[in-house]
């Protein structure tokens, strides 16, 4: 219990001089009271309904077309609302949900192995290191079963048993088999299901999809979210779109690290603009580092590729026992290998949660026992699995992942163990939302990875797809109705509010194009990413975070004085798009570091080196930090609003996977 912080020390960092202020706590998250299993039913009944005739007169904007945005837009269209959907890609089907490999959790208990809604709820709260809301997570677990029904009815080709029933597998950090999958392409198949549902609504005239359009500003009028300013990326035209409510489903912000498993276009602009217009940002420092990614091969690296952690079901993770052992893996005898996850965590072995597996990999590499270029890698070995199951069975289960690995590295994992290393993968933080998924701006709803809810400080494997679809198909379409039922009183959108939002967009574009300096936006992005990875990555310290907080504003200043963005505001200008996103990443990066600095405990994906137990495990400080940090943007600096987390059902324990 060394390094444990006490209450009075908490007071000290509240006054991290000039960095932030503490504002009023958040007392009401709008979750219904009563037994947890009845809360969602209660909310569904208490939510006001919109008359079908009126729905046609109400417009909802949905930004993003991934699992959350695509399913939300499709469902709102089915319900009869007029929906305008936006994505920066050339088709809604490209959204990055498509890259999720492993699967989707659902508490179906088809295996009879002791799973239940309650267990999925419990596992998710525990996996999130007791930093998620009970009410939200319980609802997520309840709705999970409907998602599978919905997807199957849409024709999503999940893996099946010979009897024709759905197959499931156990996945990262759980001991029941509740993960449904479609080979290694579960995200793709679920997204295509949502995409097809969306296109069906386009054909029905209920949804307009605006592809190659990027949201650059939120329009707030009369205290409500009433529209967006977007740039048509083909013509360069700045457009205004007004609505009765706005839904952001723009995904996570892992690309603040430059290198991540996110798609190249993934960015924070939509949520960051909304944040600056009044939406609180929840737990920005909670980032997930995925343990099984293909290591970086050189400075040209533009992104990192994840290998599904389902591989950990059969692959064994190891490094040489000896430092700097340069032998080929096949030449290292069994007794000179350290299967460190199995050694340290005998109960869970290779299946420990992501944060633990990632940090363990970093630790062995820091000890000088890493493998591959730069010693930044560990082996994931299938030799035993091939012996046990036969090559054919391994191929059936993981064939496409093995192919992908070989395509990228030029090495054959059937013969040489894979090399893996952790990479930024998911951001648990995001815009703060209440039980209804509404942000602190009335009429602005946030779904999927873009919001902060449900996963606490660490997301379990196969839970991102579950949350995205739960929000989009089932939760938002109900709760947004309660808000829209009052649309009659919203009044017209003030012209001044629209003009102000448009001007902000125009000014930023003009400025970026006028600097005409000596460095590209990408080179700044790389440098920012390096700062974040080194100082606000897998392991954070007060010293490292302070260093980042010095360096980020300096670099941002340089960016605005020395970036070179070629071309015109008109027409397709990909360099301009990138520069605008980098500018917003700079601002977000600073808030992430402030959040990480103020949270002196370790929890889930947030590991503060000062707060660890004698075994080097993350040490929470429930007395002082059992709250959601909801940050308000003000011109004078961030203001922290704490939402206290109360656990009525789940017993808070120090996580142990030993």
């Amino acid at each position: 219990m060394k390094f444990r912080r006490r209450a009075q020390q908490q007071e000290e960092h509240v006054s991290l001089p000039g960095m932030y202020r503490v504002g009023e706590p958040i007392r009401d998250t709008k979750a219904p009271e009563g037994p947890i299993e009845e809360r969602w039913d209660k909310r569904r009944f208490s939510a006001k309904l919109v008359n079908p005739v009126n729905k046609r007169k109400l417009t909802v904007i949905v930004v993003g077309t991934g699992l959350a945005g695509g399913s939300a837009a499709a469902t709102l269209g089915e319900l009869g609302y007029k929906v305008k959907s936006f994505c920066y890609q050339d088709s809604p089907r490209r959204a990055h949900s498509i890259a999720a490999q492993g699967g989707i959790n659902a508490a179906k208990n088809y295996r009879g192995d002791g799973d239940s809604v309650y267990r999925l709820f419990y596992d998710t709260v525990k996996g999130g290191d007791y930093r998620a809301r009970e009410s939200n997570v319980y609802r997520l677990a309840q709705v999970s079963v409907n998602i599978i029904d919905q997807a199957v009815a849409q024709g999503v080709p999940f893996a099946r048993e010979y009897g024709g029933l759905l197959d499931t597998r156990s996945f990262g950090g759980t001991q029941v088999s509740r993960t449904f999958y479609a080979r290694g392409q579960t995200g793709q198949q679920l997204l295509l299901g949502a995409y097809q549902a969306l296109e069906r609504q386009v054909a029905a005239g209920n949804v307009e999809v605006h592809t190659r359009h990027e949201m650059l500003e939120l329009i707030v009028s009369g205290g409500r979210a009433r529209g967006v300013v977007v740039r048509d990326m083909v013509t360069g035209e700045i457009e205004t779109h007004l609505a009765d409510a706005v839904v952001l489903a723009s995904g996570g912000y892992g690309n603040v690290f430059y290198l991540s498993t996110n798609a190249k276009g993934c960015n924070t602009t939509a949520i960051w603009r909304a944040h600056k217009k009044g939406a609180h940002f929840g737990n920005p420092c909670y980032t997930q580092i995925h343990p099984t990614c293909i290591p970086q091969s050189g400075d040209h690296q533009s992104k990192l590729t994840l290998m599904s952690e389902s591989l950990r079901n059969d692959g064994r993770v190891w490094v040489p026992k000896r430092k700097g052992d340069g032998r080929a893996p096949g030449d290292i005898p069994e007794d000179e290998r350290d299967y460190y996850l199995e050694r340290i965590y005998p109960a869970f072995g290779n299946l420990v949660p992501r944060d633990i597996a990632s940090r363990a990999a970093k630790n062995v590499c820091d000890e000088g026992r890493g493998v591959g270029p730069g010693g930044l890698g560990v082996y994931l070995d299938f030799a035993d699995a091939i012996r046990r199951m036969g090559r054919e069975a391994v191929e059936k289960k993981y064939g496409n992942l093995f192919e992908m690995y070989e395509r990228i590295t030029g090495e054959n994992p059937y013969e040489v163990p894979m090399r893996i290393y952790p990479a930024v993968h998911y951001t648990m933080g995001g815009l703060w939302v209440d039980y209804d998924l509404q942000s602190t701006i009335p009429g602005l709803f946030v779904v999927g990875e873009a919001n902060f809810s449900d996963h606490g400080a660490n997301r379990l494997g196969a839970s991102a797809l579950m949350q995205g679809l739960a929000d989009g198909y089932f939760v938002l379409p109900t709760t947004i109705g309660d808000y829209l039922a009052g649309a009659g009183t919203f009044g017209p959108v003030e012209e001044g509010d629209v003009a102000e939002a448009r001007k902000a967009v125009q000014d930023k574009i003009d400025k970026l194009l006028s600097v005409n300096g000596n460095r590209t936006a990408d080179s700044y992005h790389r440098e920012l990413g390096r700062i974040m990875w080194d100082y606000c990555g897998m392991e954070r310290t007060e010293e490292s975070l302070r260093k980042a907080l010095e360096r980020i504003p300096e670099l941002r200043e340089e960016f605005w004085n020395n970036v070179k963005v070629p071309g015109d505001p008109e027409g397709l200008n990909q360099a301009l798009e990138r520069a605008g996103r980098v500018a917003d990443f700079f601002e977000l990066a600073e808030l992430m570091c402030i959040d990480a600095l103020h949270r002196t405990e370790s929890c889930g994906g947030h590991f503060r080196a000062e707060s660890q137990d004698a075994d080097g495990e993350a040490l929470r400080d429930d007395e002082n930090f059992a709250y959601v940090a909801a940050w308000e943007w003000t011109p004078e600096g961030p203001v922290l609003h704490k939402e206290e987390l109360n656990y009525e059902y789940v017993k808070m324990t120090q996580r142990s996977y030993k």
Binding site: S91, I98, A153, P157, Q196, K264, K303, T520, K564
Partner: protein, 246 residues
Amino acid sequence: MNLTLKIWRQNGSSDKGRMVTYRVEDVSPDMSFLEMLDVLNERLILEGDDPVAFDHDCREGICGMCGMVINGVAHGEQKLTTTCQLHMRHFKDGDVVTIEPWRAAAFPVVKDLVVDRSAFDRIIQAGGFISVPAGSAPEAHSVPVPKAAADAAFDAATCIGCGACVAACPNGSASLFTAAKITHLSLLPQGQPERESRARAMVEQMDAEGFGGCTNTGECTAVCPKGIPLDTIAQMNADYLKAASK
């Protein structure tokens, strides 16, 4: 390694377009093809030139956004590989590499290597779905699907909508794309109620978009990064004929 690139440059759909030659030096064999173009673009920006526009997003071979014709082959010569997954170890020092956009009447060029593939979305809109509003679905295990059918449906469903099939086809046909979706849904029990109307509507939309007809040359499946088999087109034709003969 050092390479000579001949890249199609076209400033907007009304521009005539031309091939422009660039030199790239010190290319690492571990780079992806797109990373090699990133390096070129960084240089062009600093030299005050217009960087080459190309589509890309996930860079792990699944989103279907990237695609260019490399040395005359859609996505390049590596089999079952998208452009973003093509690595420079397959090239050698001194190579001359030509890079062009997808060329098809139904895919107008937006800029340089970027084309407009929205016709694919409209084919899906015509019927590439099973009509099931959220919340109305029956219990998932109420409809068992024989494993063989589920697996075959999956094989067809892996299409990423990149458009390489169209670019490779001498007729500019979208048959493989359209057939992949029709096959995916018509092999499943859930897809039966709309099977014929789907086939008819999707095929008609494909024709309306200006894609050419299929003459069984098989170039589409040869370049398909997901290996969608040619016999999906037979399935499409069978479903369409059945629908049309009613």
